[in-house]
């Protein structure tokens, strides 16, 4: 049944930067939404073909099997309600839509960036229930009930979040395209308690690539923001 699919390039299966700062992939979103997800995709073969994705393979393409086996299943839309930056959004989307594409293409929240669509660059990092995830690796329908925070939701009115202010002050970016992901990642990195030294920041921020090479300034910015954030009891 899969002979219609282009073979997956093995080079794409290498998955995640092993030094990345992500605790786990959260492909299925919040654990509590897993059952819901499986219900939503039941009746297609997507659940089966998502097997490789569960193993950390950075390709959503596997999810497309549903349409090849199910005839015109690709026209199907599903309803999902997402809570983003404190506001609820009702969406009618293709069940294959990633959280990143839901944000960028359906909600015009283009602050979250697409830099690879494969979980390899971190540009799409958002916070889900306070944890950083690669939104390109996560299907939107799995996030019902989650509290999603994107770069657009960090500032309070005109007042920048301390991490945003520190990036601005330390020139922690150049083109700015990796920046929303870096900033969301840094917010989580600090709250995880992984920003206590330069070496630790370098390591735990290495899941976010910056081709412009702003790293030393990013380290300086995270360090400063960390020093302004009250320590969390662990």
């Amino acid at each position: 049944m899969n002979d219609d699919l282009q073979p997956i390039d093995p080079s794409e299966l290498a998955g995640i930067d092993p030094t990345g700062g992500l605790d786990e992939l959260l492909i299925f979103g919040h654990p509590g939404t897993r059952r819901h997800f499986l219900k939503q995709v039941a009746g297609t073969s997507a659940a089966i073909s998502l097997g490789p994705a569960l193993m950390g393979i950075g390709s959503i393409e596997a999810a497309e099997t549903d349409a090849t086996s199910g005839g015109n299943a690709s026209a199907a839309v599903t309803h999902v309600q997402l809570r983003i930056n404190g506001r609820d959004h009702k969406l009618e989307i293709d069940p294959r839509t990633t959280l990143l594409d839901a944000l960028r293409e359906h909600l015009q929240l283009t602050g979250s960036k697409k830099g690879c669509d494969h979980g390899q660059c971190g540009a799409c990092t958002v916070l889900v229930n306070g944890r950083r995830i690669n939104s390109c690796l996560s299907l939107a329908v799995t996030h019902e009930g989650d509290e999603i925070t994107t770069i657009e939701g960090l500032a309070t009115g005109d007042e920048l979040h301390p991490v945003q202010a520190a990036f601005l002050e330390h020139d922690g970016f150049q083109c700015g395209y990796c920046t929303p992901g870096q900033i969301c990642s840094a917010v989580a990195c600090i709250s995880e308690g992984h920003a206590r030294s330069d070496a630790e920041i370098r390591e735990w921020m290495s899941g976010n690539l910056c081709r412009c090479g702003a790293y030393p300034n990013i380290v300086a910015a995270v360090k400063e923001a960390q020093s302004k954030t009250p320590a969390k009891a662990s």
């Binding site: 930067d17 290495s206 090479g213 702003a214």
Partner: protein
């Protein structure tokens, strides 16, 4: 009033707030109603013909609006073949139009385009397109393509085959110390984090707007207008932010033409965001290079001969030459004899393009490693060898360099790094169990000048808007041009708005060749002169003005917001008063785009020195760069903070070049086997140490009125050599093919 200090103020980016809040709109992020999505199908052979292409299944997918192949692709109008980047013509590295015939010229070539209502539909439908091929034997290596090899006389009007003095005789002279080595660099891919992308929106069948991620809005405008047979003013290109480019967004690549044509056929706006996978085939790369350096020097280290033979690749459907020898050896050291030879081989691989310091970057890698090898053969300190061969005059043009302060760069760099504490003995320095190596190299990049124009609108409230169709790739252009505008116009920094990235604005050249600061800065300067003249004309006719009846030529800017008599500054008038009394809300001037003035009496080139430390575990020889000191001499530094970031960025990319970056191809099929960011290792945060950047020298006013020679590219030159030299110092192993991965050190 031009600023004469070396380094301008350290301001935060004026566009920074937009970037840290996610509000900055990059090209494919513009909201265009009813926008559909384009998805490509690529060839999986490197050479041959398409014999059949089956699109029914794709067409049957709900939401699919069009499937284009060479069988039904409308014809483009012909655009001229070879075009330079300096003028308004635009740049095409790949000269064949997409889907224009049944030929396959490289693996990864687009062979079909699907347009559908959603990304998911387009991607899925593209996976259903079946292509059959009659494959042919591809040419994939220099050896295979040897009969098609070309030795171009010139690259962008600059001669690239250089012959000065008698290299052959010097290389045979038994009294001289000689080295000869071959250095290899692999294919490198730019990989800006923003992938290329375009939204094509036809307002009617004669009017097209493109939101395109580009380094050259005016070039895209011209090429699209001519390719599609449209009036120039009916094609608008919009690009206020670029998410990194490094050269790969300078030319018009196939996806841009596909988006425009796909949109025309489908009858809806089309968005194409090139996949990361296709960034390795469809948006250029740095060609691999093979360079053989032969040096001969007297026993006290005076170079007598330098020969630099450089071989690179291009594709059968494009022309691009990476001029390694002429752009490094051709400018760097004094020597009575210099020979540069450059050969280009067309192979069945996608078309290369300029990548940060094209030519200079791989060229300085080879030359500066060879200099290190020569220093060791001579038992001479590497810095001393370079000082002994310092070129006061351009070594092949024989005119003096303007404002060259390379000696100071070596000196300051050595001091800051602590170079005098280096033990020249190999494997002699340790940090616990780790081997420590110290290496250095020279950096260089030419000062390019192109043409531009700027428009200035000054208002009675003392605010100003300045416009030019230039670009900010992350370079800090918004900030630097706001700074230059403020200085040149005499308007406070906070009251200047600088606008760029729209083809509606006056001409700006490609943001490449590190030319923008100087070129656009000069246009702003010229517009400021016009503005002051226009204000003077109002003032001298106004009996209430202290400048009433003064000769226009005597008037100039005397202070912020004021023009007056330059020799008698007691007589002056403010911009605001002049405009108010004339009953004007604003005044508008625009400078003229004209070919840049050539100064043939001097040569203009930027310089620098990198010093670096590496640490290597002898058991698992992974190289860690632990310290970098870079001292640059680039004329005036307009914007201190963003300039430092540019050098840091160049150094970081150089660390990747030295240690991890390589796009490799299957030698049998010519398909790239590295096509994602998990396999193509750009440096991560953990790979990059503190980078100590400083600037020396003086503003280079002989070059332009801003005094700036540009500095976007120089940071990456020389750094790979400095690292390779440090690795040799640490380990005693000379790796002459990049990247220096652990397997090469075991």
């Amino acid at each position: 009033m031009s600023a004469t200090t070396l380094i301008g103020p350290a301001r935060s980016r004026v566009d920074g707030r937009l970037k840290v809040t996610g509000a900055a709109k990059y090209s494919v992020e513009f909201e265009v109603p009813k926008c559909a999505y384009g998805w490509t199908v690529e060839s999986n052979i490197a050479k041959g013909k398409i014999t059949a292409i089956e699109t029914k299944a794709a067409q049957a997918v709900p939401g699919v609006l069009a499937v284009l192949t060479h069988l039904n692709m409308p014809k483009f109008k012909e655009a001229p073949k070879k075009e330079g980047g300096g003028g308004g013509a635009g740049i095409r590295n790949e000269e064949r139009f997409p889907l224009s015939d049944d030929g396959v010229y490289y693996a990864g070539q687009y062979v079909a385009l699907v347009v559908a209502e959603t990304i998911e539909q387009a991607r899925h439908a593209a996976s259903l397109v079946r292509v059959s091929y009659a494959p042919e034997e591809p040419l994939l290596t220099m050896e295979a393509a040897v009969r098609k090899a070309d030795k171009p006389k010139k690259n962008n009007d600059t001669p690239v085959q250089i012959n000065k003095g008698d290299v052959a005789t010097a290389l045979k002279d038994a009294s001289l110390v000689k080295i000869e080595q071959t250095y290899i660099t692999p294919t490198e891919t730019h990989n800006p984090i923003e992938m290329s992308g375009t939204i094509a929106h036809w307002e009617d069948d004669q009017k097209l707007t493109l939101y395109d991620a580009t380094q050259f809005v005016k070039g895209v405008q011209n090429i699209l207008a001519r390719s599609l047979g449209l009036e120039l003013e009916n094609v608008r290109i919009i690009c206020p932010f670029v998410g990194g480019a490094f050269g790969c967004k300078g030319a018009v690549w196939m996806h841009v033409l596909l988006a425009a044509m796909g949109s025309k056929v489908a009858g809806v706006p089309v968005k194409m965001h090139v996949t990361r996978r296709n960034m390795f085939v469809g948006a250029g790369h740095r060609t691999p290079t093979r360079q053989t350096l032969s040096l001969a020097a007297t026993k006290d280290g005076k170079l007598q001969a330098i020969q630099h033979v450089s071989e690179t690749l291009t594709s059968p459907v494009g022309q691009f030459t990476e001029s390694c020898g002429s752009r490094s050896t051709g400018v760097m050291y004094e020597s009575p004899s210099i020979r540069v030879e450059e050969t280009v081989y067309p192979v069945n691989v996608s078309t290369p393009t300029f990548m940060r310091a094209p030519g200079e970057c791989p060229g300085t890698y080879a030359l500066e490693c060879a200099m290190d090898e020569l220093a060791i053969a001579l038992k001479m300190d590497p810095v001393a060898l370079r000082l002994a061969n310092h070129a006061d005059n351009h070594p092949t043009k024989n005119v003096p360099f303007s404002a060259k302060h390379l000696r100071e760069a070596y000196q300051l760099g050595a001091e800051k790094f602590g170079w005098s504490k280096r033990n020249p003995e190999l494997r002699s320095m340790r940090d616990g169990d780790l081997l420590v190596g110290w290496g250095m190299a020279t950096a260089t990049y030419p000062a390019h000048k192109m043409s531009a124009a700027a428009k200035v609108i000054l208002r009675a409230d003392n605010s100003a808007t300045v416009q030019c169709a230039t670009h900010d790739l992350g370079t800090g252009a918004y900030t630097a041009f706001t700074q230059i505008s403020s200085e040149q116009l005499g308007v406070p920094f906070e009251k200047v708005t600088f606008e760029l990235g729209k083809s509606d604005f006056p001409f700006g050249p490609v943001a490449g060749g590190s030319n923008s600061t100087g070129t656009v800065g000069t246009a702003i300067h010229e517009a400021a002169v016009l503005l002051h003249k226009a204000l003077a004309e109002l003032a001298v006719k106004d009996s209430k003005s202290p400048l009433y009846n003064t000769k226009i030529e005597e008037i100039g800017m005397v202070a912020e917001g004021r023009i007056g008599i330059v020799t008698d500054q007691t007589k002056s008038d403010s911009y605001a008063d002049i405009l108010k009394r004339a009953g004007r809300d604003s005044i508008e001037v625009q400078s003229e785009q004209k070919p840049p003035e050539e100064n043939k009496k001097q040569a203009f080139q930027s310089w620098g020195a990198h010093f670096c430390e590496v640490k290597i575990d002898p058991l698992l020889p992974r190289v860690q760069v632990t310290r970098v000191v870079s001292v640059m001499n680039c004329g005036r530094i307009v914007s201190a903070k963003t300039a430092r970031s540019q050098i840091m960025g160049g150094v970081t990319m150089g660390i990747g070049m030295a240690l991890t970056e390589e796009t490799s191809y299957d030698p049998a099929t010519g398909l790239p086997v590295i096509r994602n960011l998990a396999d193509y290792h750009v440096p991560t945060n953990a790979d990059v140490p503190e980078i100590d950047v400083s600037f020396v020298g003086e503003p280079d006013f002989a070059f332009n009125p801003i005094g700036a020679r540009g500095m976007g590219e120089i940071g990456i030159t020389g750094i790979a050599a400095a690292i390779a030299n440090a690795v040799y110092h640490a380990t005693g192993k000379r790796v002459r093919d990049l990247p220096i991965t652990p397997d090469k050190l075991i």
